[in-house]
């Protein structure tokens, strides 16, 4: 067996095992992963035995090590930049969207309310109005108005909330990356 065939075997077996595990969780057949995962490992090991040519030598190991280290460095720098951008967008007060409401008493005695969502920007510059919503009778909203009211909050603050979620996700990924790197570093520092 050639090296490329072996790599294809690994990819195919991994995809098949992952699909079986996913399906088993959905179907509630929890015995399937117990059988499929060891079977997949056995298939891969059997394929490895069939490879005639050398799969890996010191040069490939060194190339992979260097590539992995550079990947970590690049991801770390990009991750920090991304986290700071999204976090500053989500958590800094001048950039956060603001909602203002204006209540008006109508001629018939009912109260109407106009909500305005503005996007903050550079301090000193006027805020940009993103969307407005007017509810004619705020004390007796009809279904359409209630839905529009809900949508106003949901859509208006979506970008802000998404930024916060992305910032938190990136921060957690960076933390996990650094902890994993640190653990392996300590392991190999002890070994060599």
């Amino acid at each position: 067996m050639k090296r490329i065939t072996y790599i294809l075997c690994i990819l195919l077996t991994s995809a098949l095992v992952a699909a079986m595990v996913g399906w088993s969780f959905a179907a509630g057949a929890l015995l399937v992963p117990v059988i499929a995962i060891p079977l997949g490992i056995l298939v891969i090991l059997a394929c490895r035995e069939q490879v005639a040519e050398i799969i890996s030598d010191e040069r490939t190991v060194r190339i992979r090590s260097k590539a992995a280290l550079k990947t970590i460095e690049v991801l770390l720098v990009l991750g920090v930049i991304g986290t700071v951008i999204f976090a500053s967008y989500a958590y800094s007060a001048p950039l956060a969207p603001t909602v203002t409401g204006k209540m008006t008493i109508n001629d018939d005695g009912t109260r109407s309310e106009t909500l305005t969502l503005s996007q903050g920007g550079i301090p000193g510059m006027p805020e940009e109005v993103v969307r407005t919503l007017t509810i004619r009778d705020v004390d007796s909203m009809n279904e359409t108005e209630a839905r529009a009211y809900g949508l106003f909050w949901q859509e208006g603050l979506r970008l802000y909330e998404e930024s916060a979620v992305i910032a938190r996700t990136l921060f957690c990924c960076l933390g996990a990356l650094l902890i994993t790197f640190g653990a392996f570093y300590l392991h190999y520092a002890g070994k060599y």
Binding site: E53, I54, D57, E58, R59, T60, R62, I63, K66
Partner: protein, 75 residues
């Protein structure tokens, strides 16, 4: 670092593939070694020298102050 792998291999009418198999590396590694792009580990260097039945100094020559860092040396 210079090496005489290509010369020693040619003297013994050995292909890159054969040499790679005998020392337990891929053909690409032999190609990189011959081009001087990759510096082998001590273990591999000794294995190559042993195979050609020469001393390690007859295969690899270290040139002081001339080399830039190659693959396998610290940058």
């Amino acid at each position: 670092m210079k090496n005489r792998i290509r010369v020693l291999r040619a003297e013994r009418e050995m292909t890159q593939e054969e040499l790679a198999e005998l020392v337990g590396v891929t053909r690409n590694t032999i190609i990189s070694l011959e081009k001087g792009k990759y510096y082998p580990s001590l273990k591999l260097a000794y294995r190559i020298a042993d195979l050609f039945r020469v001393g390690i100094d007859d295969v690899f020559t270290y040139e002081r102050e001339k080399d830039g860092p190659g693959m396998g040396e610290d940058e």
